[in-house]
Structure formats: structure tokens, C-alpha cells
Assembly symmetry: C2
DNA sequence: CCATCATTTACGCTCGTTGTTATATATGTC
DNA sequence: GACATATATAACAACGAGCGTAAATGATGG
């Protein structure tokens, strides 16, 4: 059934939007459906299935209130993601000098080219565009 | 082609293992292939494509050294994940009291049931298994 | 009890990702 | 130049995620 890793769950933009909503507080399923439909234009059952994934993976929990279901965010999987990051957190202190400040102020275009010679993203259509630098 | 979100990239266990390797330092493509094959038993081209995904998404960069390619970890996307978490980080301080300590020591079974009545994962096959609590 | 609203499930479809096999591109060696 | 090593790409098959439509379940109100 639904044995998804936390990152698989977070891979879907609809689910990220739902989590974003829930970060502001509890939401009824109807509110979530409305918000997601406004952004992605998918059907209500599709949203419901995303809610189910979020429930089964522990990111959210629902509570029946009258004829509505109220969803709330649950911290556990997010904490696990944070723990996973821990291993790399020490790492980026090394080579993030001036670069970090630039990123921290909102420059989130996947960081393709900085000033360093090492090129991360390849695939220029014309050439074969290797990322071969730094001797 | 491959316009994947950072979380899509991290969703694959092979790619997570590669990142784990690179966190310890630079690795040649051959070393990565050997390690991944030992763990997952997939072919060399399959590993190479994962490396390509990691390159294109900015998680790794390669450098030609002789006839080998040396891969290194790049911090930018990991920093972005960290920034994404920032929005939720303030949140789990609220309801993570004693629960956090328990999680922090390695209890990572998706956090289905704690002591609270709110049930996260539903779908018990027999009943209809609602998560109905808290009046 | 029946109408109505809200949510979930079942099914069929499409599309992207992942894998394998075969081939291409470098680079180093003789 | 011929050949071996190292790595990347191409072509193709297959599995699974995600969607929509349609039907079912559950709750509230008359």
C-alpha cells in the first residue's frame, strides 16, 4: 500500500502546498480542497488521496468534527527529515562562505552557476556540456 | 528533460546512498558504482543516470581527473531543503515535548501511534478506522 | 426514514522514472 | 594508430504514481 519514504511524500507539489497550509494551523478537508484546486486545478478525490498519503506517512492527522474532517500537521516525519539533514549540515559550513549569504536571501534558482568554476548542471543541448573543471 | 524538485531527487534510495558516500568526501564514479552495486545490485548505466540526476539538480558536481570522474557533494540544494524546513521548524517545538526525546533516539517507525488519541494512519481493513477523536 | 452534503474508494488511463542491453566518448598505454 | 579502461548516453521495456469519472460510505438535518 502506502510505504513511502518521507522524501517521496514531499516530492509532490500538491502535498507540499497542503503542508504549507497546515503549517498555519488546522484546516478542514474542504478548505484544503479549495486551496489546492485554486492552485493546481485537480479534482477533489485527487486531493483526498494526497491527504491520505500524508496521513499514512505521518505528516498529518485528521479529526472528525461534525461532518467535516479537520487536518493538523504532525511533526514526526519533519523531524526525521531534519535528522537526515544533520549528516550534511556540518558539511556545508566548509564551502559555504560568501555563497551562503547570497542563497539565504532568497536566490533559490537551483543554484546552477555560482562564481566557482565547478559546474553542477550539465545538458546544454548544443554541446554535450560536461561539468569538467578544476583540473 | 529532468526538471526534478530537490525532494524528488532525494526520494530515491540509490541517490541517498550516493549522497551519503559523498558526504564522507570525494568519490570517483567507479567507486560510487561499486558501492551502489554492492547495496542495490543495479547496473553501471543505472548508477550513471542517478549521477546525472544529482548533477543536474545541483546536489553533486563532477570533475574529470585522468580517465576518471571525481564527484563531490555540493551544498546548495541541501541548504534549500534546510530552508524549506525552516518554516516548520518553529512548529514542532510546540507539540514535541517528551515525544521528541523518544524520536531522537532512533524510534523511526513513521510515528503512527503515540499516546495521544489522534490517530495518524487510518485504513484498518476491517472497520473503516476513522481518526475521530477530540469531540 | 429520506434528502443532502462531505469525503472516500474503485477503476481505467496516461505519463514519467527506473531498469537493462548495447553503443559512444574520452583518456591512458603500448 | 590499435587497444584497454572508465564513464556517459541511447533505445527500449516495465513498473508505479497521479489523475479523472463514477459510485459508495458516512454524517447532519428535516
Amino acid at each position: 500500500m502506502g510505504c513511502m519514504h518521507a522524501f517521496d511524500v514531499l516530492g509532490d507539489p500538491v502535498r507540499r502546498q497542503i503542508l504549507d497550509l497546515l503549517a498555519d494551523g488546522e484546516r478542514t478537508a474542504g478548505e484544503i480542497v479549495a486551496a489546492v484546486q485554486g492552485e493546481f486545478g485537480i479534482s477533489q478525490p485527487a486531493v483526498s488521496r494526497h491527504l491520505r498519503v500524508l496521513r499514512e506517512s505521518g505528516f498529518a492527522a485528521s479529526v472528525v468534527h461534525g461532518q467535516q474532517r479537520v487536518y493538523e500537521l504532525r511533526p514526526t516525519p519533519l523531524v526525521e527529515v531534519d535528522q537526515w539533514l544533520e549528516r550534511y549540515r556540518g558539511f556545508w559550513g566548509q564551502r559555504l562562505d560568501a555563497l551562503e549569504t547570497e542563497i539565504r536571501r532568497g536566490r533559490r534558482d537551483a543554484g546552477a552557476r555560482e562564481k566557482s568554476g565547478v559546474n553542477a548542471s550539465a545538458v546544454k543541448p548544443s554541446e554535450h556540456a560536461d561539468n569538467t573543471n578544476e583540473a
